[in-house]
Symmetry: C2
Subunit: 304 residues, 2 copies
């Protein structure tokens, strides 16, 4: 079977036909997970989340990764909420006038437009801080788990990963000559770090061994790159209504993306390759990776 055909079958989910080999209705399972995450957010956040919900991709990955290991050690929902808090904080700060200065996010006004800059700044700070409070409080009965979750999350969100990626992105936008390697660094840290940590936090709650956590970290890296490259493709090809955020902004800003470097078709292909690498890593683990592989295929070939 040729590479293109294999990729096509992978993206269409035909390699393991849903109706024959797979016990779960994945779309329904994903929706159940999103509902569980929303309920956990209502429980764990000081007040109802003001921001529009989005797809809750990262918390769903936390829960799905925990289930891959039978969710043996602890309930993954608090960790899922913690990851979503950090992700949302990063969006709120990234949208601020001194950063991307964006007015629209998830189809609604950004936090500093709906409120004001100071409130958005403090809300972001509070979300980041609360993520660690959730981990410490929700898993207080298992101090070893708290320590592992906090170490992973602080590392992923820190100056060497998420914040380092945002800083490089900022420098690239300010016209510093950027290379394909810079772009890979930005995607790897600004986007993939939080996808990786979603899987590793879920795996820790699931009771995975360190070696298995390492495999999931690698899968998260590929999944994160697939996600960000697809995002670049969508920005270049979809309209604002479909995206829920300002479309064509990257090109307008002369921003370095996989599309500007490689063109739409090649970028799509690279996204699918990373999605396939993630799926292969997931299939190497002992549990049933069906749901995660289905999510990976959706991410690599996403249209919104």
């Amino acid at each position: 079977m040729g590479g293109a055909a294999a990729l096509g079958e992978f993206v269409l989910g035909r390699r393991k036909p849903l109706s024959l080999n797979l016990p779960m209705d994945y779309p329904a399972e994903r929706l159940r997970m999103v509902a569980a995450v929303e309920a956990a957010m209502d429980r764990l956040l000081p007040r109802p989340a003001e921001e529009a919900g989005g797809k809750r991709l990262r918390p769903v990955l936390v829960v799905a990764a925990a289930q891959l290991f039978g969710a043996r050690r602890a309930d993954p929902l608090p960790a899922a909420v913690a990851v979503e808090c950090v992700h949302t904080y990063s969006l709120v700060h990234d949208d601020l006038p001194c950063m991307d200065n964006d007015d629209l996010r998830r189809g609604r006004p950004t936090a500093h437009r709906a409120f004001d800059e100071a409130t958005a700044l403090l809300a972001g700070d509070a979300l980041l801080t609360h993520a660690f409070a959730i981990l410490a409080q929700s898993y207080a009965h298992d101090a070893g788990l708290v320590a592992g979750l906090v170490a992973d999350l602080a590392d992923a969100a820190g100056s060497r990963r998420l914040i380092g990626g945002q800083m490089e992105d900022l420098l690239a936008e300010r016209g510093r000559r950027a290379t394909a390697a810079d772009l890979a660094y930005i995607h790897l840290n600004k986007t993939a770090a939080m996808i990786e940590v979603a899987l590793t936090l879920g795996a820790r709650c699931g009771g995975a061994a360190e070696a298995e956590i390492g495999v999931l970290r690698g899968a998260g890296r590929d999944l994160g790159l697939a996600f960000q490259i697809s995002d670049d493709v969508l920005d270049a090809t979809a309209d604002t209504q479909t995206l829920g955020k300002t479309a064509g902004k990257d090109a307008k800003a002369g921003k370095l993306t996989y599309v500007s470097f490689h063109g739409v078709d090649r970028a799509r292909q690279i996204a699918r390759q990373h999605g396939e690498a993630a799926a292969a890593a997931l299939r190497s683990l002992p549990g049933d990776p069906g749901l995660l592989v289905w999510l990976a295929a959706g991410i690599a070939g996403r249209t919104h």
Copy 2:
């Protein structure tokens, strides 16, 4: 002995004369602690701290509180650095144009003046995140300690304490009618929370029992209020060079302070009362509180 005389003796350190009853040279001990904290910062931060150092009050309190319990459980220096990271992040974000819009801090340009707003925003985010990374990594051998330290720090820095205080302060500055109760809430959360947590994190590293940690939390509350009220007094009475930050800013901004509410003399008296309450709580503990009581006296009657 009358109240005023007792307060005077307390502030002058005469209740327990240094030369007779006290084994340590406190000023020298404080300087040794500051040097140890600076060395720990060089070791634990990704790059040399760019900001001017300040007095390192909070990290010194961490180390002194640990010593009160014999520093039995773990080295307090990483916790001291974590507390200073959170304190510094709060200053960097508080100085931003959308918040206090301040140009000068610790006698040097604020982060967004020395660099730019986006860099200051991300540097603050990185410091906050790194505080939790330091706790998780430095105490990895004692997961129970990590869990306790993270829970305390996230609580103190969170939306119900530090950030809640900053938000209320912001609303008060924007002309919302503020009462003496609002002012007490702001001081209690914006300032005292981080003083409290310095003492409780130190106590945890020292191996204190939960009841002892509670006593230190109360002492920290009084110490924090003494510190902030003295700060209000200094802003009204000292010059910019002495302060290392813009003087008279509170009055110019029509800002609610203990001085605007109670006048300079009464505010000084309230600060000393809180300092004395903190000292009394510290003396109720089994260890030798000499250094902490000396620090409390300095805080309650500080001139810079």
